[in-house]
Symmetry: C3
Subunit: 394 residues, 3 copies
């Protein structure tokens, strides 16, 4: 009996290995080669390793990379970091990117193109390498900061932002807010009035003038009213809206990026039927699952965390799936810089979801066919429905 | 050796199946039949499914219901939602309620009677169906709002609340505060003075007058002073006090309902020896366990979450039991509307506690006889002691 | 194949049993004998058991103690609490302390000497019993409160604190802040100016005068500026700084002691290369792991929780190790009062780390040799590097 169950579950895991995924939140990868320190700087959310703490390869993601990525570069699993990086350099960035993207088994990518401190592959290039359609996600703050940098006047800024966004919305499949990084998630639910937006825009211009006078570049948007203005502008364009939640680099105040703090805004967004996608969520995956249950338009993922927690990914995903209805959970890698992130994110997610569904079948919690149906929902169908990707593909 | 251990643990799980429980926090169930959309609306904490997110049957609770509840209605486990609901309708609400309550294996119920947007079964009716004693829990805000609706003057309100509560306390076994829903849990520890209560009551009356003038009904109590007044009134009546904590519907701000925020109040309540019962707690079950350890009068449960997280219930319960002393943990379902909640809550709790104790025996963490003793503490003895149910039964 | 893996993992667990640990955060133990109520009062973080909640032996730590500590006192595992305490009394505190410290397998102890409501063994005494070097950690608030009690003037206090700390820093290996207990962890990142410190010192003196006039003792430091002053004074002495985080007794407001709240201060401390050690962290171990990843100078442990959660310790440690790089994790017991805490902390930590590394080998997440290397990092090498213990030993 137990033997039969294990047999059946092994089948599910095998099937998961070929289950194609839509990666609904990711970034470009570097077209250049990387030395060891540089590579470690892109591996996790700290910019570089430190002598105090030792190599970042000694971590869950470091071990996951040596185990799973090495074979893609024709190496034995668990080779040393230096052997791995030597082989990576010998193959060259283009070939490395090609191999990992191709091996990720993706069926679609929604790429945030708004964070490019250095050149990264574009959505179309990523899509080509992956053998999948590459879509664009508009980072709202980046769009507004470009309007500011273009010298548009304070009074014209709101209109210009809205009109540029409307143009982008013709092709982009969604928008993204990084309010969490700038002011935290305790945003008012109210749509700001035209006067409030005007006042906030003037505030931003005075900041910009001071910055210019001080010799620094244009300021970043970090203003509760302006973040809300951007969000409601995206609502008006009928764009699904992604929110950076919780886990990120040291610029974020983790507790101020707890998704629970979004509740007042979510209450106002629910009647608009705008899909809201809570990204990352770690370590608040249970809070996010709660929001996905109680708000009709809230969706969740476990991006960034999935590859960073390595072989603990199944334990973390299982927590997200406690309250979140299975029609509200999506896959995303949040890959950035390293093509390995795409591959690890997809592989660890498949294994985690497979393990979860597997154990449920083994315990009799659901049937084999229900498990397969849920796998497809989470792997790609939920993303296709939310972002209307089948329309976008045409 | 390993074989012997498994043998022994299997015995514990079997014994758990017949372990009778006191459900110290629950509500009435609907006496009427339900269509699919209506049923889904009572299944979880969102009022209805949405086309965006798909059916709520695709969730942990949905699968748990198809697995465990279907056989109680003479169906195969895992029948489709529509087959389940057709059989449910054919049997009729009265028979369905009878079957689930009878199958729950309860030895007592403490029913919150203060939330009835539509008619629900009363404590005595529930008790009769369950073959157990039904007790009442007084919802404090509901009692005060009824005093307000009865047109008592502002100056008389505090006295009238206290006197009605004293009458209710003769039969009810405890009180419940829903401050978490209204103002969050960051309550001052101080007992409000008569003058502060008077001022707050006058504030409430002005709200009521405005509401009346505006054509809406009497206001809900959402006033830090009044919630505290109600809590201290219950202390004076020597009633155990339940607190809504964390998980609930979208009206609650989850992070403001973190039980840790109650600490200032708990410090003041501890010397009074008033039992304080922290309900639900998910996803803050570890925070709640901490409070149960460090405050002599604090008790905890995992109600509502137990049936909502389905086959993950053992993982969540194990977290509650990390710090909470085993003399401070109670069972509750928080069943509401659907009789299935009673059955699933009890069944999943038994399985979770059985698994927990089981694994401890298998690892040698405790003996078989200690495990059995702890099972009885948590299943019913702690509740009997806290609520003095043996006195109440007479 | 599976058999081989289990064989291999069994080896790791066996090796862990003899893996010596540096306990980087602990306290003295009592030299006196204890009755049952007294013993229960030192067992967990509540000062005494209560009739309402039953004995504290019915808890994870209680069962862990009966299982693991009884054999050290020549008893069968799982003897009753009374049998255990009778044997403990018969052996006497000196012998009991000797046995547990000797059996803990420690290679070094960093003892916080700043909390001694009654006489406790000193670092050198503890070290002698453990067969290891005992080091001192200076509790910053205790040092400053002693300066205050010595009647130094307000204007001289800052200088006197700094000069006493410099003297202590010659031998002590680190400093500790308990700001979490006094004002919470939402500390500004800025180094306070001399003027701000002067003003705060004067405030403290006025408090002290009022306290004296009122007949009470000198006040405790609970002033955001003074806590920061103490922290920056330790930075200037190049001392690693420990922070009390989260789990402790009922004096702490758990949510205000969330390590995420330290981010503004951590951003300022990072460029100084001062090691920052986040103690306990439960139930925020994942938040702490995040900080250990994104800040170069942040280190984490799971002290106090490890022995309190008993056989759940492996589950909790695995969460800490999701994001925390393995070069940033340390062992500590936070033993206080009872020598059993030392033994349980060390034993449960070894088992937890062994289980974690074990399962990784079994799943192929890392190799046997990498696991052994990580075990030594976390057991002692990280502590030696951070506190420069090899220098201190000379």
């Amino acid at each position: 009996m137990m033997g039969d169950m294990r047999q059946e579950t092994a089948d599910i895991l095998q099937e998961m290995d070929i289950l194609r995924l839509v990666d609904h939140h990711c970034h470009g990868v570097l077209p250049r080669d990387l030395g060891r320190s540089d590579f470690e700087g892109f591996l996790t959310e700290v910019a570089a390793p430190s002598p105090l703490g030792g190599t970042l390869f000694d971590s869950q993601i470091g071990f996951a990379l040596r185990r799973w990525c090495a074979p893609v570069l024709d190496l034995e699993a668990h080779v040393s970091p230096d052997e791995y990086l030597a082989r990576r350099a010998a193959l060259g960035a283009a070939e490395v990117n090609r191999r990992f993207l191709a091996a990720s088994g993706l069926d679609g990518l929604c790429v945030d193109t708004g964070y490019t401190p250095e050149p990264l592959l574009e959505p179309a290039e990523l899509g080509e390498l992956a053998g999948a359609q590459g879509h664009e996600i508009v980072r709202l703050e980046d769009l507004a900061e470009k309007v500011l940098a273009d010298g548009v006047s304070a009074s014209a800024l709101p209109g210009e932002v809205r009109s540029r966004l409307a143009v982008r919305a013709e092709h982009a499949v969604g928008a993204k807010s990084i309010a969490a990084y700038r002011v935290g998630l305790e945003l008012s639910g109210e749509r700001p009035s035209a006067q409030e937006v005007k006042t906030a825009a003037e505030r931003l211009y005075r900041q910009a003038e001071r910055a210019l006078a001080g010799g620094s570049g244009p300021p970043r948007i970090a203003d509760e009213t302006l973040h809300r203005f951007l969000i409601w502008s995206a609502v008006d364009c009928e764009m699904p809206i992604q929110f950076h939640i919780a886990y990120g680099d040291s610029d974020v105040d983790l507790h101020r990026a707890d998704p629970a703090r979004l509740a007042p805004l979510l209450r106002e967004l629910e009647p608009t039927n705008t899909p809201v996608l809570l990204l990352h969520n770690y370590p608040y995956q249970r809070h996010a699952g709660y929001l996905a249950q109680v708000f009709k338009n809230v969706f969740v993922d476990l991006s960034l965390a999935t590859h960073n927690v390595g072989h603990r990914a199944p334990a973390v995903l299982a927590e997200l799936l406690e309250l979140a209805p299975f029609g509200k959970v999506l896959f995303a890698s949040d890959a950035y810089g390293l093509a390995e992130h795409y591959y690890l994110g997809a592989l660890l997610f498949r294994r985690s979801l497979g393990r979860f569904l597997d154990e449920g079948v083994a315990e009799g919690a659901w049937t084999r066919s229900d498990a397969a149906r849920v796998a497809h929902l989470i792997a790609s169908e939920n993303a296709r429905r939310v972002y209307k990707l089948d329309d976008a593909d045409q």
